[in-house]
């Protein structure tokens, strides 16, 4: 089981801010592809990812229990 957090417009596209899914031992890239298949209106290509609050890359492996946050371009300040 992994925990997915969605922010800003991604939250509105999916209609949820959190998802829990029975996936593990996949890469960030594979998770992006899986989510895009579940939510065809979702585009995650230029979206950054943080695993357990640390920035990750598309090839980072996701383990069971991880929290994966999808981070659209930020606009604080």
């Amino acid at each position: 089981m992994i925990h997915i957090l969605l922010f800003a417009h991604l939250q509105e596209v999916v209609g949820e801010s959190k998802l829990s899914v029975e996936l593990s031992d996949i890469t960030v890239d594979q998770l992006k592809a899986w989510l895009e298949k579940q939510y065809p209106q979702l585009s995650l290509q230029s979206i950054m990812v943080a695993i357990n609050e640390e920035f990750a890359t598309d090839t980072t492996m996701i383990q069971s229990g991880d929290t994966i946050a999808f981070i659209p371009p930020i606009s604080g300040g």
């Binding site: 922010f7 920035f55 890359t57 981070i71 930020i74 606009s75």
Partner: protein, 152 residues
């Protein structure tokens, strides 16, 4: 020293966090909600954050500031939720023995914040709304993630 809050920011409380007997200067950056952006009138804003990671990234910025200006002390508070025109969105306080360092480190903090701190702004206009991304108009993260290494 670092906070995400849903309440109005008390500027003086942020300043108090960096008060030091060794300080000869404190700079305060106060980011406020602007009405006009490229001629378009904003009615109000909504900020959203990923608070635990935002605080971690504030700590990362403080670490980078410490490497460059070891005597500077920094505190940052960012507000989230519904903000009206002229409301304070962010306060950055930096104290240091001399003023130049306090100015430089404060500017560094806001520039880095716009690169690595997960906070988002939604603009509401009279005729619609949109989540705003990438104010710096960079090509979105060519390395797939923002640089966490110290930048000059």
């Amino acid at each position: 020293m670092f906070d995400i809050t849903e309440k109005p920011i008390d500027v003086e409380a942020v300043r108090q966090k960096v008060v030091s007997r060794n300080a000869g200067a404190i700079t305060l950056f106060i980011g406020t909600v602007r009405e006009l952006t490229n001629g378009k009138k904003t009615v109000h804003l909504e900020y959203q954050a990923y608070p635990p990671m935002a605080v971690k990234m504030f700590e990362q910025i403080a670490k980078e500031i410490h490497e460059q200006w070891p005597e500077a002390k920094v505190a940052i508070t960012h507000r989230v939720g519904h903000l009206a025109i002229s409301d304070i969105a962010v306060v950055i306080a930096v104290s240091s023995p001399h003023r130049k360092m306090a100015y430089q480190a404060n500017e560094y903090a806001i520039e880095r914040m716009k690169q690595i701190v997960p906070i988002w702004k939604k603009e509401f206009w009279e005729d619609g709304s949109e989540w705003i991304g990438d104010q710096l108009e960079n090509i979105p993260y060519p390395q797939g993630q923002p640089s966490i290494d110290k930048e000059d």
